[in-house]
Symmetry: C2
Amino acid sequence: MEESTGRSTKKKVVAVVGGGLVGALNACFFARRGFDVQLFEIREDIRRAKIVKGRSINLALSHRGRQALKHVGMEDKIVSQGIPMNARMIHSLSGKQSPIPYGKKGQVKHLRCSSVHHTLKLICHVAGMFLRSDGSEEHIKADLIVGCDGAFSAIRKQFLRRSRFNYSQTYIPHGYMELTMPPINGEFAMKPNYLHIWPRNTFMMIALPNLDKTFTCTLFMPFEEFEKITTGDEVIQFFQRYFPDAIPLIGVDALKRDYFRLPGQAMVSVKCAPYHIGDKCVLMGDAAHAVVPFYGQGMNAGFEDCIVFDEIMEQFNEDFSAVLPEYTRVRVPDDHAIADLAMYNYIEMRAHVNSRWFLFRKYVDNFLHFVMPRTIIPLYTMVTFTRTRYHEAVERWHWQDKVINRGLMFCATGAVLGGSYLLIKNPPDINKFIIPAEKMWDRLTALRTP
Amino acid sequence: MEESTGRSTKKKVVAVVGGGLVGALNACFFARRGFDVQLFEIREDIRRAKIVKGRSINLALSHRGRQALKHVGMEDKIVSQGIPMNARMIHSLSGKQSPIPYGKKGQVKHLRCSSVHHTLKLICHVAGMFLRSDGSEEHIKADLIVGCDGAFSAIRKQFLRRSRFNYSQTYIPHGYMELTMPPINGEFAMKPNYLHIWPRNTFMMIALPNLDKTFTCTLFMPFEEFEKITTGDEVIQFFQRYFPDAIPLIGVDALKRDYFRLPGQAMVSVKCAPYHIGDKCVLMGDAAHAVVPFYGQGMNAGFEDCIVFDEIMEQFNEDFSAVLPEYTRVRVPDDHAIADLAMYNYIEMRAHVNSRWFLFRKYVDNFLHFVMPRTIIPLYTMVTFTRTRYHEAVERWHWQDKVINRGLMFCATGAVLGGSYLLIKNPPDINKFIIPAEKMWDRLTALRTP
């Protein structure tokens, strides 16, 4: 990063390792504080590189991420390049589409940024970033090393060599594959301002709109299922069985061809602690907490890392020996909470979005939030539209869930007792009711089990 | 390992990496099947090395470990070098000692082997092991690599470089320190055939007898507590507060000196999956599942790995391409279960051994086991005295716990209802009972919370 002022006091050197989303943004944060920021990236400069075809990696920018961008004056530039998303759109097997809103009507919306590549280019461009990736072996003396080098972080490998570093990496049994849905007559093939979801229990497909009027469809399924399909005809059979409405929109030929372009890609969840070594090194972003992509919070959590660190820098007067341990203390429980939530959603999105109990509870939660906006806040709202600490959001969610479920149980018991009382007072012909009552039981059971 | 028969068919080469307990035993298992076993160990040959002072690492040999030794004809040789342990001996703060037996009277006992060093030397000696550790860089072409190289396995590091390898390492907040309790007048300073435990919630000390009539005391406490104590006088103050009866037995001067010999040592729990790469490489023992030392099953689980692998070798006719995936499938849930149990015991040993509820439940479990020996089997018994698969033991334990707790609840409810009925029939003077009843409630509460 170029020196912007001509101050004579020797500036501390911060080496940011990794020029991805979090690294680039973090470089801006440190530069704003007047550090001599050196940004290292092993890949070529993204502003001069051609766009790599193959994977786009969808990004959802919500409140936390926007706040971080705002801090360094980039919110508007990035947001103007995104597509707002108002709701989820559930595609049933019959092709019926039903929207499920994210939060209250009129609430600040989820914003879909087209791709890592695109967003990163913007951040680098706005920040006037200088990337060091010439392959030369130059020894830099840095006062602080900031590891923002992603889920497979090289900096984190150094942490692993030390004692008392807790670490876990969990690959989920599902892989993902990206397919493109082209525009029809120059227009989006489906309603654009939605996250389209085809929930099919074991399988799931989602589709997100791009600025060029295409949709990126992402198919999630267990690796062994990916491997079962070996011919173009089997691809079509598979789609006819599970996602029939998507076949004409993607196109039979494209589907047969693109399915075999790349194999299913793995997804990993990484948790670790501590995030720092002494006053010398700290991990942020995916390097500290890669999450599975089912809460749309990966980028937001990484961006929020930058604000949290900046806030602690302010609090402890930029004294790294105090800032780094405090950052670990404050941030680890929150990052672990969002990693767990993303894993929880991995199950919920596939299974529960289909279940009546899930939809009923969603409806109850939203209704209660409308009636008591400060007492009952849906988890999704806390995570996506506020900066409530992730671990506090989870605690509050468990509390609310208990209260609401007890309330529902109370109402149900009341209804049963009231009903029984009426039945006892006016005994009906038992034969008239015995079958409907059994059916009711089946319905209640079906409601609970997805 | 020397060739023992003169068969002309070319024998498959098995490279066992790590000549520790599991590596040495595994080498015996493969040799028995007629493989050309090459055993690699980076340290010097333990039969020629001097005993390293500092850490003994206590070992408890129970049923699973003995079964494995029996398979290769070494049970008697090893067992004759151990000290049988009949029970736990709980030391209260006042110095009172109360025994808690491990299982039924007369049941096969837990056996304490003096140390890793001693046991390993025995295994190597009996097996006539040849250790390759000359430091030369020789390229060996092996048909199978067996990684038995411990908790910080170099072989496992190669697994970590591959995609879809699940891995976690968790350091507990406690460290451990070993202190020696010398003999008094040539005899053991405490009763020898017991695992002595000083449970003090946050802190815990245990002591295990050695063949030379000493006890090895192991002090477990959080690292920050270790660091708080910086002078010999502070050591004595600390022991006076928590382990007063141990001071004269260890000796004031020894205590003041030995406490500062080594800092608190870290303990790690490692879980991973899969255990194999193709038909080429497999992990066993601590390399696959390092556990915290609170169930006394580390060595036993590692030894059982060898039998389980041997059983699968038999089942699949030594076809590595079938044996290795099956080994992962069968063994991962069991090793994860014992890792979890050891972690659970880490909490139980410190806290619950003190609680009346724990002792009461232990008593109920043992009583029910006596009355219905095939229906109710205490968890500890299943883990220590049988070869019940670890994960099945845990499932059965959860089931039994539910049944027993419900039974107790049912009895308690019955007693309360019966009591109430009698009270209503013969109403007593209320003032006579109000205080004892309150006290009873306090007692019940104290029983539940440790």
